[in-house]
């Protein structure tokens, strides 16, 4: 392996590539520890190998790799102080030697036990942090969704919202209502405009005319002075397939079946869901 003075360059190159057997490597290492010239040549060879490495065909980093890495770094940066302290760090040789005298007197079994306990706690803390972070994220998402849903509700139900019906020019606005209905969820939103006022003690009532069976009451409403009214998410059973919708005028208490005449009606197109 050595030629009496130095490691042959062939073998240093193999060593730099980590291609030598462990036994051969050990011989090279022992020599390198004593020989600055061979260390210098090994560095030169590593420099040559670095050039070979950077000459490879270039590939773009996979999508998301940067985010994954930065997240890992951020998670590590946020790790508890205990974990940071437990991380190995490089101890200068002189410092390590200086400590050695003290180290003989430390009860190692107790230290080992403490390390095991600490490691367990650190892992547990890490798990809990992850869990908390996950829950916080879920809550943030839900809050955002709720805020948006509330805004939709506010716009639809606010008394100060302006309701404008656009029709062909020079047509006298007729009473209309637009119902949006999702049968599978029993969800219904209705907006009506240009309704005639109802006498005292009376209200409009919306009906779902199902594919089969009797009409189902879907909510009472009274128009404002401008003739506008809305019904947002009345209590409805799920899964009633609607054939049509109708509006009648009923007593304030509501009715179990529609009272003629039907003042507004509309056929439901085929369901989207």
């Amino acid at each position: 392996m050595t030629d009496g003075r130095h490691i042959p360059q062939d073998d240093l190159a193999l060593h730099a590539m980590q291609a030598l057997s462990p036994e051969e490597s050990a011989v090279v290492r022992a020599h390198l520890a004593e020989c600055a010239a061979c260390r210098g040549e090994l560095a030169e060879l590593a420099g040559d190998l670095a050039l070979v490495a950077v000459g490879v065909e270039q590939h773009a980093v996979p999508a998301g790799a940067r985010e994954r890495f930065l997240q890992r770094v951020a998670d590590d940066a946020a790790a508890p102080a205990a974990e940071q302290a437990a991380r190995p760090r490089v101890v200068p040789i002189d410092e390590a030697r200086a400590r050695r005298g003290l180290m003989h007197r430390i009860p190692w079994t107790a230290v080992a036990a403490l390390l095991v306990i600490t490691a367990g706690l650190v892992i547990k803390i890490g798990d809990l942090r992850l869990e908390v972070a996950e829950q916080a994220r879920t809550i943030r998402e839900q809050s955002a969704a709720n805020a948006r849903a509330q805004q939709v509700m506010d716009v639809l139900t606010s008394r100060s919202a302006q309701h404008v019906l656009l029709t062909a020019a020079k047509t006298k606005p007729a009473p209309t209502a637009r119902a949006v209905y999702l049968a599978s969820r029993g969800a219904l939103i209705m907006q009506a405009s240009n309704l005639d006022p109802v006498p005292a003690g009376k209200m409009y009532e919306l009906w779902i005319i199902p594919m089969s069976g009797a009409p189902v009451p879907a909510g009472m409403f009274r128009p404002d002075a401008a003739g506008t009214a809305s019904l947002v998410m009345p209590q409805l059973p799920k899964g009633i397939a609607a054939k049509a919708f109708g509006v009648t005028v009923e007593n304030e208490a509501g009715a179990q079946s529609p009272t003629m005449p039907i003042v507004l009606s509309g056929a439901a197109p085929a369901a989207g869901e």
Partner: protein, 224 residues
């Protein structure tokens, strides 16, 4: 090139150096012509950086500055990923190796110092070694701290430039075919010289000489 019995060095003058710190790869003259001829791999092009900037970034990483770590990642991840891909040929494994090397640098930025040459070159070698560990299914053999490149190289300023990559490619393509193949089997496929000899039917000494000769050709090509 000298014969295999010429001793450890091919240049007498290198024996005069004290400690290796003066062993310098000459500056690489910039090569605008090559730059303008570059093919279409724009996606991996990164601007040139100075070694001093790298050290400044590392000192910020030492102070747990995540932005500085992101900048180092941006500078060298393309190169590091490409090296890992060349060895592993699998994007997911290659990303794992690349991520681990950068993450270890985040955890221990002191592993690299300016005495170890250039950060880019050092990362290239460390990534290659880690990738080879995966290929050989063995535990990491050497601590990364063991990798030392020549000081005073201009590799730092040049490593992320495609001009350098293209020049290296040109040099490797110009090697005798059997030299290049032997070097690639050893460096990128992780075969030992014994395995290469068994595979190619060449004597061990020939395999060793080819690897050494190929590396010396690369070195000479980048000397002024």
């Amino acid at each position: 090139l000298r014969g295999a019995d010429a001793g450890p060095f091919t240049r007498e003058s290198e024996l005069q150096y004290n400690g290796g710190a003066q062993l310098s790869m000459s500056d690489f003259p910039s090569n605008p012509a090559a730059a303008s001829e570059r093919s279409s791999d724009e996606g991996v092009r990164q601007p040139a950086r100075s070694p001093a900037e790298d050290m400044e970034l590392l000192s910020r990483v030492q102070a747990r500055d995540q932005g500085a770590m992101a900048e180092i990642f941006d500078r060298y991840s393309g190169m590091a990923f490409s090296v890992a891909m060349r060895v592993l040929r699998d994007p997911s494994q290659a990303e794992d190796v690349m991520q681990d090397v950068f993450f270890r640098l985040w955890q221990n930025p002191g592993a690299f110092t300016s005495e170890r040459g250039s950060l880019g070159g050092w990362l290239a070698v460390v990534v290659r070694n880690r990738a080879i560990d995966i290929v050989r299914r063995r535990r990491p053999s050497d601590p990364v701290e063991d990798v030392v490149l020549p000081a005073n190289t201009n590799l730092a300023a040049e490593v992320e430039r495609n001009t350098l990559m293209e020049r290296v490619r040109g040099v490797l393509t110009g090697l005798p075919a059997e030299q290049r193949k032997t070097l690639e089997m050893a460096y990128f496929d992780g075969l030992s010289h014994t395995e290469i000899a068994a595979k190619t039917g060449e004597p061990l000494g020939t395999v060793k000489t080819r690897i050494r000769s190929a590396l010396i050709t690369v070195r000479k090509a980048f000397q002024a």
